[in-house]
Every structure is written in structure tokens, then in C-alpha cells.
Symmetry: C2
Subunit: 195 residues, 2 copies
């Protein structure tokens, strides 16, 4: 049988090539110098192909990061029954990720976009931060059931107390991002949440 | 006696006019559309006068905010002897400032600059955040002497726990900035710091 070209599959291949090119280029040249032309050239597509799917450079870069984390959707946090040990595992990994120079340029670029663009910020909350926060709160609820966290603790505030200091330290470069810092943060937040 | 022109005084007047123009314009048109030309026109000086003192648009805007806070240098936090009441007063004011639309555009613009430019971030820490943080820590030390906060509490971490959640909420627009939020934050952080 004669094999016909599959437009849907070709289209998906182009989309993936564009997203990968956007991720690579933002890391190599930084967000400010990144151009739609350069993404198109690296991906081997025309500029119009990109504008058919995305309205701006920021939107492509955003989706390129969203694609990275798509397989972490629905992820659960470790639950060994020990909230302190589990949170330290998670926060050490978070701190290490922020401290990794390979993530620095693209994640900083993404943050600049989100800070400047309320629509992108809303998308980020709905598609990325929201589902991940839900998984984190599920782990805190399990600790509440185990009597390790106060029943009436505000879990949104708890997540902010855990993550905002790391985010601010990284964003404003105000201090080292070390495993000791992750542990100190978890200890302090668990004291605040004690039953 | 014949009055001679005073170049130092005229120079300071120009400097103040430039800083005020930068503040006004960043609020009116946003940082992205702000130009050195527009600042010069509004301040009634030549472009070269601006470039004599500042290396970039970001540097002028930064100094324009620094000038605003110069008279708060050495400021002390209220100390009524009640750390909970005092921190709630301070954090409600902080939250209200972040929630004020008049501050929104210029402070967001300043933050974008700081996030993108490590040199500016270092200046910001040294000239602005550092002295203010020292005043805040002085109040926490007074609470330590009064037995209201653990003697071995990490005061840098304490400040991050208090301020980073507000900063993140504002920057990423992830939740309301209300007096209730300020109070809940102070309550949680004081639980974490209890002796």
C-alpha cells in the first residue's frame, strides 16, 4: 500500500521542533536577544508557521517550558509518613534546581515574561503552578490526617512560606541556595504549622 | 554684591528634575516604552546631561526610586514592646503599599530591572534592601531580648518568611493582598520563631 503523508503528524513534529528550538535558544542567547526568526531557522520552519500557533515570542517560550513539565502533571509528592523527611527531600531538590546554572537563563526569562504579562501569569497559574500546588497540598493534607500539621492550617499560606523564600532568594540573588537552607526553611515552616 | 550663578546648585536641580521625570514617566507609560529622550524632554535637560550621570535607562529609574527612600534611611520599626502588634502594623502597611495601583507600574519596572541585571541587584541590596533589613532585624532582636522570639532564631530567614510571600503574591499576582493576609502571615511566622 502506498503511504500517504500524515499532516497531523508532520504538524506535531514541527511544533515539537519549534518548542525545542525556543528552549535551546533562550538558554544560549537569553530572552532579550531571542527572535522568532532564529527559532524558525533552528526549527527548520517558516516564521508564519510559528505565528499560526503563537501570538508572541513570550508565548512560544512559555509553551516550551510547559511542554517540559507536561509529564510531571498529576505527580505526587513522596509520602513515607514522615512529613519532615519528605518536605526536606522535596525542598532540597527544589533548591538544587534553582541553583542549577542550566536552568538559570530560561527560567529567569520565563519569570520576566510572567511578571510583565498578567495574561501569561494567569495561564501559568492555571496550567502549571495550580496542578503542582494541588499535589503539594495533597501531601500536607496527608500530614494533617497523621496529626503532624494543625487541622486548621492554611495550606495555601503554608506553600507560600515554603516556596516564596526560595523563589525570592533565587530571583533577587540575595543568598545561597543550599541543602542547609532547604532544611532550615522546612524546620521553620513545620514549627509554624504544628498542631 | 553681584550674585554669581552656582553650578553645583544648578546641577543638583537638574539631577532632581531628571529623577522626578523618570518616576513620573515610568508610571505613565511603563518601563518598556520609557526613553532617555522622553526623560530629558520632561526634565528640560539635554540627553547628554543624563548620560553624564547614568549609564542606562535602568540606572536612572533605579536611582529615581532610591531618591524616594533616601529619607527613610536609618528608619526604625515601631517598638511598643509587643512584637505581634508591631509586626502586624508594619506588614499591613507593606501589603497596602504593594496593593496600591500607584506603586504598581514603577515598582514592577524596577523589579524587572533588578531581576535581569545582577549588578543592579547588588546595588539594590547594598543601598536599599540592606539598610532597611538591618532596621527590621533590630526590631526582631529587641523581641529576642524581651523573650518573645527564640534567642537562636535565624533573623535573615525570619525576614524572608515575612516578606517573600508578600513579594511573590504581588509579583506573580497569585492572591489578594489584604490586612487579613498580613495578620495571618505574622501569626504563622511568630509561631515559627517562638522561644
Amino acid at each position: 500500500m502506498h503511504k500517504k503523508p500524515d499532516p497531523a503528524r508532520r504538524s506535531e513534529r514541527s511544533r515539537q521542533a519549534i518548542l525545542q528550538a525556543a528552549r535551546e535558544l533562550v538558554t544560549e542567547v537569553g530572552y532579550a536577544k531571542l527572535s522568532i526568526e532564529a527559532i524558525a531557522a533552528r526549527a527548520g520552519v517558516g516564521k508564519q508557521t510559528i505565528y499560526r500557533w503563537w501570538r508572541s515570542k513570550g508565548a512560544v517560550v512559555f509553551d516550551s517550558f510547559l511542554a517540559l513539565s507536561e509529564d510531571t502533571q498529576g505527580m505526587a509528592l513522596p509520602d513515607t509518613g514522615d512529613i519532615e523527611a519528605d518536605l526536606k527531600t522535596v525542598m532540597r531538590a527544589t533548591v538544587a534546581e534553582f541553583a542549577d546554572p542550566a536552568f538559570e537563563a530560561p527560567i529567569r526569562a520565563l519569570n520576566m515574561e510572567i511578571v510583565a504579562d498578567p495574561e501569561l501569569a494567569a495561564q501559568y497559574r492555571d496550567k502549571l503552578a495550580g496542578p503542582v500546588d494541588e499535589a503539594k497540598k495533597e501531601r500536607l493534607r496527608s500530614a494533617q490526617r497523621a496529626g503532624q500539621i494543625a487541622e486548621d492550617a492554611d495550606l495555601d499560606l503554608a506553600l507560600e512560606l515554603l516556596y516564596a523564600p526560595v523563589y525570592q532568594r533565587w530571583l533577587l540573588r540575595t543568598g545561597p541556595l543550599t541543602p542547609e537552607y532547604a532544611d532550615a526553611l522546612v524546620d521553620a515552616v513545620l514549627r509554624a504549622l504544628r498542631p
